[in-house]
């Protein structure tokens, strides 16, 4: 019993370590990622947790969890203007995320890593 309590006490520690490993350890600048998303009006169509016109970012992270090409795939999605499929079935070009200075791939990568770490 005592041993079980001891193990349960580790749960928040493990959770905290997992979160830290998924963001800070990979050097994700959360504020910069959210600022870039706001600047590009991403939150007009996406929410972190809710379905809007686009899928929730947590759902995106879930979809790509454990996939080796996740980062490359998402970068391609938000920088190429490829077609995005909407809930009603229609397709339209996804907005190309712009950075300042232009085409700063580190900022794009940081945004994608933030989404994937959610």
């Amino acid at each position: 019993m005592k041993n079980r309590k001891h193990k349960l006490g580790l749960v928040p520690v493990v959770a905290a370590l997992t979160w830290a490993f998924s963001t800070a350890a990979f050097g994700v600048d959360i504020d910069a990622a959210k600022a870039l998303a706001t600047q590009n009006n991403c939150f007009k169509c996406h929410s972190v947790t809710r379905e809007l016109d686009g899928p929730a970012y947590k759902k995106v992270a879930e979809k790509y969890r454990g996939k080796a090409n996740a980062e490359t795939r998402l970068i391609e999605h938000i920088t190429s203007g490829e077609k995005a499929k909407f809930a009603d079935g229609h397709e339209e070009e996804h907005k190309i995320v712009k950075t300042s200075p232009p085409k700063d791939m580190e900022q794009i990568r940081n945004l994608v890593q933030w989404i994937l770490a959610l």
Partner: protein
């Protein structure tokens, strides 16, 4: 010169000469005043100070209002100064506070500018909202948006905004400049 000199009727000049003089002087004053006011609407004037040139101007140069497919450019005054004379004059009078800011150096470094960006942006958003985004609507019009040419999602949002009585600035903030770091999108979690 005593006050009587100014108020006493002229015994030397005819009424016609005085009216003609007043008319010509009026034209000259009006022309000079308008020319000076229009000069302050030029982009070169706006970026004459490093406070604008090193910050918001650099951001604007990366925006679609500076460079785009069709070659139509909106300069500072197109978005920040009303076109009609009365409101333009009021805006210019209000801008005298900005001159005071320049004198006391309230945003004379990038750090000071960033510290005040939210306050400055909020003032401008409030001004635009109070004028129903008229400076945007000088070029953009809900009724001129084509459902064929505009993507379905923004078109749907635009028509919903029109029905709700919203104007451009309600949704489009920070389109030519960086958003303040304190700004949060309403939908953001």
């Amino acid at each position: 010169m005593d006050i009587g000199t100014l108020t006493r009727p002229s015994a030397r000049y005819s009424l016609i000469a005085l009216i003609a003089l007043g008319f010509v002087s009026g034209i000259l004053f009006w022309g000079a005043f308008n020319t000076a006011m229009e000069a302050t609407n030029r982009l070169e004037f706006c970026i004459g100070c490093h406070e604008m040139r090193d910050t918001v101007y650099q951001e604007y140069k990366e925006s679609i209002h500076y460079s785009n497919r069709t070659g139509v450019r909106a300069i500072c005054s197109d978005c920040h100064v009303p076109k009609d004379w009365t409101h333009k004059l009021l805006r210019k009078a209000n801008a005298s506070f900005e001159v005071w800011g320049k004198i006391i150096g309230s945003i004379d470094t990038k750090e000071k500018f960033e510290a005040k960006r939210m306050e400055l942006a909020t003032h401008e958003w409030q001004r635009m909202k109070a004028r129903d985004s008229i400076e945007c609507r000088n070029c953009h019009d809900f009724d001129a948006m084509s459902s064929e040419l505009q993507k379905q999602t923004p078109y749907k949002k635009h028509m919903a905004a029109k029905a709700a009585g919203k104007s451009c600035i309600d949704c489009h903030k920070g389109i030519a400049h960086k958003l303040p770091k304190e700004y949060e999108e309403p939908e953001e979690q």
